[in-house]
């Protein structure tokens, strides 16, 4: 996953991946076109615009099932963005990130069943509960590295799932929590009782939280995390409290995951221990690999691709969703080592080339 050269920097300005191969002097036009096409603004802007257009026209073109899938993809996308914070920036590839996601989902479920049906309140409380969960588990997790980190996050994730399955009085056990009532986004608004209204609510919440994450990751905070990922020992030698940074990143990522979990609960109106399963953690890690490890937008696109492959493309091949995902993963790792965000636009060297 680690790029041999430099991965895309969060600032996007000092992009090292801009092509520097020698170009024949006679093809100025092509060269100019290449420069434009490989400019960071366009490379982020074009897919972002395409995704925005798709998300805006989707409710009027898709059926209820499609809209529901899109809502799920957004909720899963928020979880994927939390993995971007951890794996891409802080250099901590967690394989148990679905656990705080599940904590957020259960928080929303329990609140909904007890008559607290205001969406914004659920989001804040769910993110807070997940942050608290991450704050406690982070004390252990952050002390480990590499393989031990993978094992610890896996263990924390599986333990959280086991607890959710056993604690009948709170969670309803392994059967999960059914019939969670729909929410109102803020007091005084209409109940979100259709696929479309849920979709708009989930989309708005996702845009807000991803914009906040994006803004923070592009600030000096993102640089601190990247430096910890690049060379942790040097950060310590420079006097930075690296462990504190990593713990804070872990808590923030937990809050983000919890936020996604609340959205997932709103979409499904159902929560079960399966929400926190390793399968979910692995899927979003795949989404992040697909999207490019340091790109929140790429992670959202990756999550969309995964849901589309698993739940929609697999329609003609019933029962083969995991197979399709596996194939996609192999193709992604071979063809796009830097993810969708790392794809470079190539134009032919000479005028008259085929493409």
């Amino acid at each position: 996953m680690s790029a041999p050269t430099s991965p895309v920097t969060p600032s996007g300005s000092a992009d090292p991946s801009v092509e520097t191969e020698p170009v024949m002097p006679t093809v100025r036009a092509s060269q100019t076109a290449r420069t434009i096409l490989s400019s960071p603004r366009l490379r982020v802007g074009a897919p972002a615009t395409a995704a925005a257009v798709l998300l805006l026209i989707a409710p009027s073109t898709f059926d209820g099932y499609g809209i529901g899938l899109l809502s799920k993809a957004l909720a899963l996308g928020v979880l994927a963005v939390s993995v971007v914070v951890l794996a891409g920036f802080a250099g901590l590839p967690s394989v148990g990130q679905a656990a705080p996601f599940m904590v957020g989902a259960y928080t929303a479920g329990i609140m909904g069943q007890h008559g607290h049906g205001i969406g914004v309140v659920q989001l804040v409380c769910g993110a807070g509960a997940a942050a608290g969960f991450a704050a406690v588990t982070g004390l252990v997790v952050i002390r480990t590295r590499e393989l031990a980190f993978l094992m610890t996050t896996l263990a924390v994730g599986e333990l959280a799932v086991a607890v959710a399955g056993q604690w009948h009085s709170l969670t309803g056990g392994t059967d999960g929590m059914y019939g969670i009532p729909p929410v109102r986004p803020v007091p005084g608004t209409a109940l979100l009782d259709s696929d479309k209204s849920v979709y708009w609510y989930v989309l708005a919440a996702t845009v807000v939280v991803v914009a906040v994450a994006w803004r923070v990751l592009r600030s000096p905070v993102g640089k601190l995390l990247l430096a910890c990922r690049d060379h942790e020992a040097r950060m310590r030698s420079a006097g930075h409290p690296v462990t504190l940074y990593q713990w804070l990143a872990y808590v923030a990522a937990g809050a983000l995951a919890g936020f996604g979990g609340v959205l997932m609960c709103t979409v499904n109106e159902y929560v079960s221990p399966a929400d926190g399963s390793f399968a979910n953690s692995a899927l979003v890690l795949l989404a992040v690999v697909l999207g490019g490890a340091t790109s929140p937008l790429g992670a959202l696109l990756g999550a969309g691709l995964i849901v589309a492959t698993r739940d929609w493309l697999s329609g003609p091949f019933p029962g083969h969703g995991p197979l399709l995902l596996g194939l996609m993963f192999i193709i992604a790792v071979y063809a796009l080592p830097n993810g969708v965000a790392g794809v470079k636009v190539r134009l032919p060297r000479r005028p008259g080339g085929s493409a």
Binding site: V221, L224, D230, R234, M235, R236, A238, G239
Partner: protein, 255 residues
């Protein structure tokens, strides 16, 4: 003169190998110290112990009158001990300017550096360090794309940006061009008089040009201490170390 770093009975063993053995040393405040010795004499281990990268097997390290033997390295760095590395280490996905700013961050004494505006101010105030080591042109390049010599200069600039009271340089001249060495010498000489410099180096010419006291280590033990001239004339040093480099004539030339 009082010692800013006082080492007593310092021992560090790696398994059966004893890298630093029952060492007593004092680095006087404001001094320009060099530590030399043949390969495997324990020079880098000594720097790692002072900087806090390694914990000693036994012994004590006092810095500025306080015992820092068990103090974590980030804390020691914030107390004023900065270092460079034998293999220059930088944050490769960040720009050169960002590397300097991040190195200066914990020492800037301002709060809220995570805000864009404060960070920019900090980054601008660090430009002089780039100038000192002569890599101003490279400010916007990703640090991972630098050549070895440039990377070493950046590593040194990062240590300078920490505004240190004790500066530990691990073979700073290795792999530098003549011009680079000249810049490095100028940078060390331009340091405020109260800054203590400890440089580990093989190049005796460089050592003579920088240091006022030279400490010779051999097999983790103290062999000799003195001015560069005294060390160059010392017979036991010659056999242990300078003999490896060639004829005594080389040393005469250096002097």
């Amino acid at each position: 003169m009082t010692g800013v770093i006082e080492i007593s009975g310092l021992t560090r063993a790696f398994g059966a190998t004893v890298a630093v053995s029952d060492l007593d040393l004092t680095f006087a405040a404001g001094g320009r110290h060099a530590v030399i010795g043949p390969n495997g004499a324990g020079k880098t281990t000594l720097l790692n112990l002072i900087a806090g990268e390694l914990r000693p097997t036994s012994g004590r390290i006092r810095y500025d009158g306080r015992d820092v033997t068990r103090t974590a390295r980030a804390k020691r760095s914030r107390l004023g001990i900065a270092r460079t590395f034998q293999q220059p280490t930088v944050w490769s996905s960040l720009s050169v300017a960002d590397n300097i700013a991040l190195a200066a961050w914990p020492h800037a004494g301002t709060r809220g550096t995570w805000r864009r505006r404060r960070y920019r101010t900090l980054s601008e105030s660090c430009e002089r360090h780039l100038e000192t080591v002569g890599i101003t042109d490279l400010a916007d390049r990703p640090a991972g794309a630098l050549a070895h010599g440039e990377r070493r200069m950046l590593d040194i600039a990062m240590a300078l940006a920490a505004d240190p009271r004790v500066l530990l340089l691990d073979e700073p001249a290795a792999g530098l061009t003549e011009q680079g060495v000249a810049r490095l010498l100028a940078a060390v000489r331009a340091l405020p008089a109260e800054v203590t410099v400890v440089v580990v180096e093989h190049d005796f010419a460089f050592v003579s040009a920088v240091a006022d006291t030279v400490t010779v280590l051999h097999d983790g033990k103290l062999l000799a201490t003195g001015t560069p001239a005294e060390i160059a004339a010392d017979a036991s040093v010659r056999t242990a170390y300078l003999g490896d480099l060639g004829e005594p004539g080389v040393v005469e030339e250096v002097r």
